[in-house]
Point group: none
Chain length 413, copies 2
């Protein structure tokens, strides 16, 4: 099955938002062995939507349109596609009731323009939307399949996972294709490429390619064949060989985030954690608390942005701050130790560093100390990060999580 993605919306066309949906959908389609031929991005005008849709209909079997399902006057995707496909719109009473409930909850009137979202093409399959008011729509048209999805990624993604993927899987006949992603932290792309040079194969089956991300590198292993077990085995065999070369540099697989991995270690051991942050300003706690259920192991965080906060809340002696400095191994160790003891947690993590930008030419922007206090003692890692303020905060939070992961693996001493 050949496919095209059409993103509708001036905000994407004019570059005001990154086309996150296209990248997400591409990956998900590839995992089903559906061959994506084109992305097209068009503005909100009905003429542009019609013309892109007609063109796609001439060259692919599966057309996925995103955006233009909202309640404002320039949301026209559904109407244009129905007109092009010659399908009338009918009110779906069930969705209308759903909308009535939603709007009642927030005390907003369900006006006519909002009620428009309850109209669906005759004979279409509705895709439930947990995070918004527009339903997704699947239309089957002779030998073509058309999928309409709302533009906001937080609405689109769960709809794709829960409804569109299972639907397409039943329809697609591409044989079996599987992809596994190994997530690598702590090695640059070039070094990683050197280490596993013989296992990389951009043409083979399995196909192995590297994709550099902002703070990490992903290794994609993709295999295809007719037999589920065989395909799994091909991937597993290559994965094992790569992991052998990379050892603890591989922190996770597929969609697993670093905070998920750390969460699993904490949860399984019944351990608790507290965090004391200076330069990351709360980003580490934010990441930790993105994991559902994190209140089971994350007790508290302290963002000690001022020296006073370090002294009062974390009992860092004023002499240490005066003689060693707020950004020093000593301060990091005391912060980690004291957040652990005051929170009565099993582990304490601390971060202190220079995120920049700085007016003082001698300040070493990017220098960060990460402390880890454990039942066996306190560890400290000195890091030099590159980039702007946000990027340094990001790297520092990621490496702090990674230090805890490496500790659980027995690699910290």
């Amino acid at each position: 099955m050949k496919a095209e993605i059409i993103n509708v919306g001036n905000e994407v066309l004019l570059g005001y938002v990154l086309n996150e949906n296209a990248s997400f959908l591409s990956k998900r389609l590839a995992s089903l062995g559906i061959e994506l031929m084109y992305h097209t991005v068009v503005g909100d005008q009905s003429g542009s939507i019609s013309s892109a849709f007609r063109q796609a209909r001439d060259r692919v079997e599966l057309i996925i349109l995103t955006g233009g399902l909202g309640t404002t006057a320039d949301d026209l995707t559904k109407e244009v596609i129905c007109k092009e496909a010659g399908i009338p719109l009918r009110k779906c009473v069930k969705w209308e009731k759903h909308l009535e409930k939603l709007y009642e909850k927030v005390g907003i009137e369900l006006e006519e323009k909002r009620r428009r979202q309850a109209y669906v093409p005759e004979g279409a399959v509705l895709i439930p939307n947990e995070n918004g008011t527009a339903p997704g729509i699947i239309i089957e048209l002779q030998d073509k399949m058309i999928v309409l999805l709302p533009g906001p990624p937080e609405e689109l993604k769960p709809m794709v996972e829960q409804t569109v993927m299972p639907y397409l899987q039943r329809k697609s006949s591409a044989g079996i294709i599987k992809t596994r992603v190994l997530r690598v932290l702590g090695l640059g792309e070039a070094t990683l490429e050197e280490r596993i040079a013989r296992l990389i194969d951009i043409e083979g089956n399995p196909r192995v390619v590297l994709m550099a991300q902002s703070t990490e590198v992903h290794v994609y292993i993709t295999a295809h064949g007719d037999n589920q077990t065989l395909v799994e085995e091909m991937i597993q065999e290559r994965e094992n060989r790569i992991k052998e070369k990379l050892a603890s540099f591989v922190y996770g697989v597929d969609e697993e985030t670093l905070e998920d991995v750390v969460a699993r270690f904490l949860f399984q051991g019944g351990y608790t954690l507290a965090a004391a942050e200076s330069c990351t300003g709360g980003l580490l706690a934010d990441k930790l608390t993105n994991v559902p259920g994190s209140s089971n192991y994350f007790l508290r965080g302290i963002v000690c942005y001022s020296n006073e906060a370090k002294i009062e809340l974390l009992k860092v002696p004023r002499e240490t701050l005066d003689t060693m400095g707020a950004v020093s191994e000593e301060t990091a160790r005391i912060m980690a130790d004291n957040i652990r003891s005051t929170a009565a947690a099993d582990f304490g993590i601390s971060i202190t560093g220079y995120a920049g930008p700085s007016d003082e030419p001698l300040e070493p922007v990017g220098l960060v100390y990460i402390g880890l206090s454990t039942p066996e003692g306190v560890y400290c890692q000195r890091c030099n990060f590159w980039g702007d303020r946000r990027s340094i905060k990001e790297q520092a939070a990621v490496y702090a999580l990674n230090l805890l992961r490496l500790y659980f693996l027995g690699f910290v001493d």
Copy 2:
């Protein structure tokens, strides 16, 4: 002048990298008044490149292709376009010498496949590339202009700024174009549209359009003309009328973030701030500390994820937690008040709520209380947010910042 961007490359088509180049180019073209009609993304195959190029040639005057100028076998953009346009490739001796120097410096042999980058279309303009080995290329073809650029954003961006933009500016006859963005928070897209219905004009000059973002809506005002002052005046006049209708719902202009605006109020008043967060888990402090110089006013943050932390660090009475609950107006008020007093700050903000997901069907996921303690008293806002865990965290942190902004404007009582 109408334009189309064609991104060539499997890594973009298959979603392994976000299409950052398209978003960047779109914005730069818009600033010149060049009307971008389509983005198209195709794979590396010569057939796909040809077909996308032919289509673009039929519908626009300016075609910008990115990617496929490298040294590997699947880098075919230059060759395909020359074939389609009927232009021969000629060796550019100057670029070849440049390559020889570059490769000699790093001790790599200038093999034939690398020498391929020194071949340029006859009569084309070369675009120097400071960060890579592939030159960019501008081809003028009767009434069409074709620009070829390398795929890596760190190569493409300076080439666009230094060479392509001045070149296009000379060629484009759109006069002066200016855009201003008004950032609106607290009104949905539909309500906003209603309020300023008569000031929205997607065809006019100034052109006024709405763009919904995840937690806010942006109003774009774009005007063009021959005279700088006149264009500025047109924008200013429309901006004033829109602001009159929206009052404090407009929090910022152009690239200004909400945390920038709050930072300005705090900085100008010489005020200090501390934050106590429960469900946002540090996200508010993270946002506040993204602003360079935030250590001047942000003293400390406490992430009190457990009840013990609320009791010990913020002196919330256990009875309040037991009788009113951790998610309650009372708790939010006490948290805000006590973080303000213990930090000896001018202002204290607190957030407590349910970010979900929840196994308990009665837990009102999305219910959040925001507290603000000021020299004049304590305020509390009750909010109902939608969406998943991350989205609820995001909205809660944004609305907390906004509450402080509204206080400074005198709208909180």
